[in-house]
């Protein structure tokens, strides 16, 4: 795939000066909107997960006139609901030496020095307010007997800064945001449109001024205009078909904004989570995450010998390889996600994997049960064990769990500046949909933090600054009509093919291709193969897909087909981005770039930048944004 290089991005709008003061400075310099004018300003928020829900509720309360959209039947079901482990905040309630600076430091290092310092510092600062906000809303976080909040530690950090609500932290935080949102709906400041899918952004006079949506029940195509548009539409991990994401997660909203001019940053950074239940058959529709906390007590191993088909209990200790403890004696089973995932892949590639197809490793509680007793293990992990048994039909108290890495989170997304504004003025992007804070890897418990920081605290300030220049007057009717026609013709085209393969069968094939060639490990050769194969498969899709039903009804096949079509285009850009980045970092492992021990080898001299892709009729254009580290010294990550 051909691409050209365009001018560098030089200004990210972050204020200069000491890092601790930048956000204060930005807040102070932001223009305020007179309360009487707020009502006249219309804002569209697409997505009602933690990012969108918190943003719409806050903007509504500030007095703006907000319209909110989601594709589920109610905002409370957004994918954020599934987050299990917890949310980080630099509260230092434990007095174990945590601080804003330390959370900032850990996050920049965890992201393999591919995140922006200013953004991450702000995230750490704001994290403290998130917990206060959620508690005031009635989010039932875990408590100590003294009535104070409990915390735990999480992969990649040595302090206890993760707040949690049993294994359902995302659910409880989302219900908090949802309830705040429903309160605004009742107050009339937010109008909610559920079962509506956004299919295009309206750009008029160079500004984002609205969206085209499809009512998923009647099929009606609607236009909604506003003074600014916020995308909070989540990640695109489902490009791999199998992932831990909810089935509906997709890329359509951000992809179509990309086609309208928004740059797409670091598309190739995909986080793979090491502890998921392995694939069991061809029909499988998604992968289920087993909480990372299991690795606190479970020990990971595979047989020493290849193709050892004995039952795990029949393999004596001397014939087991506790490979994480062996290779990483300092962190052992608790190494970060990218490291644990790749190690599992390596032992399976050697032919030592267990379970069907040899794609699995054991997560064994035998020693924990012997040490702590079955009751204690049950108290700590009982619900997870039950979930495992429900899905696999095996009892993990008796036989070790089998786990394998799976696609989990996408660090890439639309490029935004310090104000969370994309390269289209008036189009803001928050939560997993943007690229901003995580770099090449995301530490556990930091996505929830980012989504809520963006929605409750950052966006309401920076969007206000933008809106202070509004209202922006009439929208160009031609721009609206053009967007509407584009949406309709795509739908008509999908329905007209009437071929012999279902959208799902294409999605499955594309996903497998991406996993094999652009997954946990990439090589120049694999990426070139993918870049050859994807256009062929896309061509076949447009020749041979079968979409039943009509456009004027609830039509889940049509919805699916539209999303798969966008995944093809995104997949191609992901592979291109991965091909160009000839270094390894975080979730991006180029096999050509590793050290003598097989660890990821970064190339700071050539790649300490964000890759922001522009879509043009002549193909993609790469803009680089240099990353400068003034406060954290770039070092090789080592967990040995």
């Amino acid at each position: 795939m051909k691409f050209t290089e365009g001018p560098e991005i030089r200004d990210t709008k972050a204020p200069a000066g000491p890092i601790e003061e930048r956000w204060e400075k930005r807040k102070f310099s932001a223009k305020l909107v007179n309360p009487a004018n707020k009502r006249k300003l219309n804002v569209i928020v697409v997505g009602t997960g933690l990012a969108g829900g918190s943003a719409a509720a806050t903007l509504g309360e500030l007095g703006y006139n907000v319209k909110s959209f989601c594709y589920q039947d109610t905002p409370r079901r957004a994918h954020s609901i599934a987050a299990q482990g917890g949310i980080n905040a630099a509260k230092n309630y434990r007095g174990d030496g945590d601080s804003i600076y330390r959370l900032f430091y850990d996050t920049v290092k965890g992201g393999d020095f591919r995140a922006r310092e200013s953004n991450v510092y702000r995230l750490a600062q704001v994290s403290v307010n998130i917990i206060d906000q959620a508690v005031a809303q009635g989010v039932p976080f875990a408590r100590e007997y003294g009535g104070l909040l409990d915390t735990r530690s999480f992969g990649g950090a040595q302090v206890s800064r993760t707040f949690y609500a049993r294994g359902q932290t995302g659910q409880q935080l989302l219900l908090g945001a949802y309830q705040a949102l429903e309160r605004q709906i009742a107050a009339g400041t937010v109008t909610m449109h559920t079962r509506h899918e956004m299919l295009d952004v309206i750009v008029s006079d160079g500004r984002a001024r609205g969206v085209i949506v499809r009512d998923m029940v009647t099929g009606e195509i609607e236009r909604h205009l506003a003074d600014a548009v916020v995308l909070a539409t989540g990640g695109y991990g489902n490009v791999f078909f199998l992932s831990t994401n909810a089935k509906g997660c997709n890329t359509t909203a951000i992809w179509r904004a990309h086609e309208r001019g928004a740059y797409f940053a670091n598309p190739c950074y995909t986080q793979i989570h090491p502890t998921c239940i392995p694939v069991s058959g061809e029909y499988q529709s998604k992968l289920t995450l087993m909480s990372e906390s299991l690795r606190n007590d479970g020990r990971v191993w595979v047989p020493l010998r290849k193709n050892d088909t004995r039952a795990p209990g029949d393999i004596p200790d001397e014939e087991r390889d506790y490979y994480l403890e062996r290779i990483y004696p300092a962190f052992g089973n608790l190494v970060p996600r990218d490291i644990a995932s790749r190690a599992a892949k390596n032992v399976c590639d050697e032919g030592r994997g267990v379970g069907p197809g040899g794609l699995g490793v054991y997560l064994d509680f035998r020693d924990a049960i012997a040490r702590l007793g079955r009751d204690a293990v049950e108290k700590k992990y009982g619900n997870l064990f039950e979930m495992y048994e429900r899905i696999t039909g095996e009892n993990p108290y008796d036989v070790p769990m089998r786990i394998y890495p799976a696609v989990h989170y996408t660090m890439g997304g639309l490029w935004v500046d310090y104000d969370l504004q994309s390269t289209i003025p008036g189009l803001f992007v928050i939560g997993e949909a943007n690229f901003s804070d995580h770099g090449a890897n995301r530490l556990g418990a930091s996505a929830l933090m980012q989504g809520l920081a963006d929605g409750y605290f950052v966006l309401p300030t920076t969007l206000g600054d933008y809106l202070a220049a509004g209202p922006f007057g009439d929208v160009d009717e031609e721009a609206v009509a053009e967007a509407e026609i584009k949406v309709r013709s795509k739908i008509d085209r999908l329905l007209a093919v009437n071929g012999t393969r279902t959208p799902d069968s294409f999605h499955r094939e594309l996903g497998k291709l991406m996993w094999d060639y652009c997954g946990m490990e990439r090589t120049e050769e694999s990426l070139r193969k993918a870049l050859e194969r994807i256009p062929e498969l896309r061509e076949e899709f447009w020749q041979n897909v079968k979409v039943s039903g009509t456009a004027e009804e609830l039509n889940q096949v049509l919805e699916k087909a539209g999303r798969v079509a966008d995944f093809f285009d995104l997949a191609e850009l992901m592979c291109l981005d991965a091909l160009v980045r000839t270094e390894s970092c975080g979730g991006h492992f180029r096999a050509e770039s590793q050290d003598a021990d097989g660890e990821a080898l970064r190339d700071d001299e050539h790649f300490a930048h964000v890759s922001a892709w522009e879509s043009t009729p002549d193909g993609p254009v790469l803009h680089k944004e240099a990353l400068e580290y003034e406060y954290v010294k770039m070092t090789q990550r080592s967990y040995k």
Binding site: T74, R76, E182, A186, K247, R390
Partner: protein, 246 residues
């Protein structure tokens, strides 16, 4: 496994609907119930038929979006399980399985197994929140909460809003859902100032939506995938009575 499915098909709210029989073959016992339907739907699409519409998203038992009445029981016979977490190994080979949507007047059928549960959102809009402004909350440690209270509040807060309780109730009551929400907030100090007005507003809204009254049959808690207990309803009733006595 080979199965016979009797599935409720309904084109839209105006259509009267009917049961249609399908045979599915080569079902793996490891499939989830929804994956089994996916396989059937793939076939229907290729045969030029309309696939069966059903709601789902997380497929992890947490979003509350899936839901169907399986052999007469909301989410199927297995206790404390959502439809997406139900696996085919719990069915006999050659079994006949009937599949229907939630049936309750306030949950109109949108298409096939998809129903409109927006009445639940309107119950929350009536008062299912703490009125706290964004951006200026006091330090979280300034409000200690007894661990027992926090745990009990959490237990109630785990309701996923699926609506199985309504579908199972002979009166079509939404009491378990509403009570779970009221109980969650009423057990926490943050929820106290609006406690009684909240209970009143939410219960009144529940009635206005056309949900039936609770006669303590307990069908709701039996099918609830999150095991929300009946005593939440007693708590709701107490607060409601107090609110009306004021």
């Amino acid at each position: 496994m080979n199965l016979t499915l009797k599935v409720w098909r309904q084109n839209g709210p105006a259509d009267s609907g009917r049961m249609v029989t399908y045979k599915v073959e080569d079902v793996s016992p490891d499939m989830s119930f929804l994956e089994m339907l996916d396989v059937l739907n793939e076939r229907l699409i290729l045969e030029g038929d309309d696939p069966i519409a059903f709601d789902h998203d997380c497929r992890e038992g947490i979003c509350g979006m899936c839901g169907m009445v399986i052999n007469g029981v909301a989410h199927g016979e297995q206790r404390a399980t959502t439809t997406c977490q139900l696996h085919m190994r719990h069915f006999e080979d050659n079994a006949t399985i009937t599949i229907e949507p939630w049936r309750a007047a306030p949950f109109p059928v949108v298409k096939d197994l998809v129903v409109d549960r927006s009445a639940f959102d309107r119950i929350i809009q009536a008062g299912g929140f703490v009125s706290v402004p964004a951006g200026s909350a006091p330090d979280a440690h300034s409000i200690p909460v007894r661990k027992e209270d926090a745990d009990a509040a959490f237990d109630a807060a785990t309701c996923i809003g699926c609506g199985a309780c309504v579908a199972a109730c002979p009166n079509g009551s939404a009491s378990l859902f509403t009570a779970a929400k009221i109980t969650h907030l009423s057990l926490l100090p943050q929820g106290q100032p609006e406690r009684l007005s909240r209970a009143k507003a939410m219960v009144d809204q529940m009635d206005a939506e056309g949900f039936g009254g609770c006669t303590n049959t307990g069908e709701c808690t039996a099918v609830c995938p999150k095991g929300i207990p009946l005593d939440t309803i007693a708590r709701m009733n107490t607060d409601y009575l107090k609110a009306n006595a004021k």
